[in-house]
């Protein structure tokens, strides 16, 4: 029986199968080596990129954690004098300033940016392409220019520094970031869902609100939180326009303070107590930014899981 089979001409399919399997098993050693080298390289890069992050965090914690207390977070600052050089006040004014400025800016920017994102994701037109280009450019704009813009158009017109001018600058900072994220998230929603909505007799806007945005929500939330994280830490856009205030003030039409601004001012001070305060604020800021960016990943992952 076997003799008969041996005498037959080799089956080309079997022959090809043999060659493929042999080549594959020869290559597997090479591939395993390659993948080990690559993992090594990736691991090294990861460690290298973690070094600055970890060392900054370590320094911040070492220098800043000592000043942080409930009073530090809520009280207004004390101006050190020659007699009372070591008085560390609080940063309540800057906390409130950041909260008001970034909060109101987010309230304006989020709905606006989501609307623009919807428009960009759903329309193919010259106008849409133009707006997309503008958004792209705005994202890359040096943020100090937003400050200059707010200075010229708000501060000079109203003849006053104000939280309001900072809100305008921060809004312009946030809108393009959220718009980009929103467009991407909305484009990721399967087209069949829009068709299903429209086929039920819904208006386009109802489908967007009732179907598309909820499905895109994880991506939208990530975009919003990341843009907030960026806004909270930005000094440049508000530096020129917010003025300065040592008192807690909720009125955005007055001059205000803000966390990144306080770091900038306190760190330039000759008093050790002020410098220590700057470390404290820096720690608060980094924690806020970390919470926002890690939070955004957590929330998004959770919502994606729920949708399934």
């Amino acid at each position: 029986m076997t003799d008969v089979l041996m005498d037959l001409p080799p089956d080309p399919i079997l022959e090809r199968r043999r060659v493929i399997q042999e080549t594959a098993s020869k290559k597997i050693g090479r591939r395993q080596l390659n993948s080990r080298i690559l993992s090594g390289v990736f691991g090294l890069t990861l460690v290298l990129s973690l070094i600055p992050l970890v060392s900054v965090l370590a320094t911040l914690i070492k220098r800043g954690v000592g000043v942080i207390s409930w009073g530090f977070l809520t009280h207004d600052p004390i101006q050190p004098t020659l007699i009372n050089q070591n008085a560390v006040g609080g940063i309540g004014n800057a906390m409130v300033g950041s909260l008001v400025v970034d909060g109101i800016a987010a309230l304006v920017a989020v709905p606006l940016a989501i609307l623009i994102g919807l428009y960009l994701a759903e329309t193919e037109s010259r106008t849409a392409n133009f707006m997309r280009a503008i958004t792209e450019i705005m994202t890359g704009l040096p943020s100090i220019l937003l400050g200059v813009f707010a200075y010229i158009y708000i501060v000079l017109t109203m003849k006053a520094y104000s939280g309001f001018a900072a809100i305008v600058a921060i809004t312009f900072l946030m809108v393009p970031v959220i718009t980009k994220a929103a467009e991407t998230a909305i484009r990721g929603v399967p087209h069949t869902l829009r068709e299903a909505g429209l086929a039920l007799g819904a208006r386009n806007s109802k489908v967007s609100r009732g179907v598309i945005l909820p499905v895109a929500a994880p991506g939208l939330i990530t975009g919003v939180l990341l843009s907030l994280a960026r806004a909270v830490g930005e000094t440049a856009p508000i530096l020129l326009v917010i003025g300065i205030s040592g008192r807690t003030d909720w009125n955005p039409f007055h001059q205000m303070s803000a966390l990144p601004l306080d770091i900038y001012q306190d760190s330039a001070s000759g008093y050790a107590s002020q410098q220590q305060e700057a470390w404290g604020i820096a720690l608060v800021l980094v924690v806020a930014v970390l919470v926002l960016s890690l939070g955004s990943r957590f929330v998004a992952a959770r919502m994606r899981r729920e949708q399934r």
Binding site: T192, L193, A196, G197, A199, L200, G201, G210, V211, Q307
Partner: protein
């Protein structure tokens, strides 16, 4: 086109309808009339010159090989091509005595009267089973809880889904099996109480048992809606439809209507040899 005047005549028979296989039209006027309907994309014709009547409370099937324009024709009936910029629909499509492209009926109102079930189940993923079913009503502005509840129950019963989901209406639609999801989509379409239901290969992604349930459903639903179904499955067309339209690509690869008539005639005694070839599986 091999259609006699008699077949286009809406009032040709007086026999009362007793079952799904009766192959003749009713006394009632046709639910929809298509006159020389053509659809093109970027100037390239996808389907052309379709003329036939869709009888009320009957199932009309559209059959033909892949690319013959069945989906394209179906989507022109609820103006879904409006979303595609490159698409152009010509000819006349009448819903009762309204020209649906005539401008008197807004597309949203048209679509609430002509429901659609898609090839792949597409429940809204963020919504519960209940919210999915009543979504069409909510989109159309209905808020009254009692009405929504009533409509949801009735639609789920009609879609043969009530027994298995009535205890978990709050669960996500995506927790259902593929076949159940498709029946959920049928319930969602039915809840708006459409006069006409368009179905584009509704069972092509389903197993034989789910397919059978949906086929039975179509026959049961006839007293409630007029159904137009696209299918690749010859047996399915023969089993569920009363009338049948056969489309085929012409010389220039544009689909055209080869033959339209009662399903029994198309399957047993077609007038066009090309229909016979296709039915017998000689090409396609």
């Amino acid at each position: 086109m091999s259609m006699t005047q008699d077949e286009l005549n809406p009032t040709r028979d007086t026999e009362p309808i007793t079952n799904g296989q009766s192959a003749v039209s009713t006394l009632t006027p046709p639910a929809m009339r298509l006159e020389n309907v053509s659809v093109s994309f970027n100037g390239r014709t996808a389907v052309r010159d379709c003329t036939f009547n869709v009888a009320s409370n009957r199932v009309t099937s559209l059959i033909g090989p892949s690319g013959s324009g069945k989906t394209t024709l179906l989507r022109s009936l609820n103006r879904l091509h409006d979303l595609t910029r490159s698409a152009k629909v010509e000819g006349k499509i009448m819903l009762g005595d309204i020209d649906i492209y005539g401008g008197s009926l807004p597309p949203t109102l048209l679509r609430s009267r002509i429901g659609m079930v898609f090839q792949r189940p597409n429940p809204f993923p963020t919504m519960s089973i209940y919210d999915n079913v009543v979504s069409g009503l909510r989109f159309n502005g209905i808020k009254k809880k009692a009405l929504l509840d009533e409509a949801a129950e009735s639609a789920l019963i009609s879609a043969a889904l009530w027994d298995s989901v009535s205890s978990r209406l709050k669960a996500h639609g995506s927790t259902l099996s593929g076949g159940e999801q498709q029946r959920l989509c049928i319930a969602r379409a039915l809840a708006v109480e459409p006069e006409i239901l368009l179905m584009d290969e509704p069972t092509s992604s389903l197993d034989p048992i789910s397919t059978q349930r949906i086929e039975e459903l179509m026959v049961e639903l006839k007293n409630r809606v007029t159904i137009i179904i696209v299918t690749h499955n010859m047996q399915q067309a023969a089993r569920v439809s009363d009338d049948c339209a056969f489309l085929l690509m012409g010389e220039d690869r544009a689909g055209e209507l080869i033959e339209f008539g009662p399903t029994t005639k198309i399957f047993n005694d077609p007038s066009d040899p090309r229909t016979l070839d296709y039915i017998q599986g000689r090409f396609g």
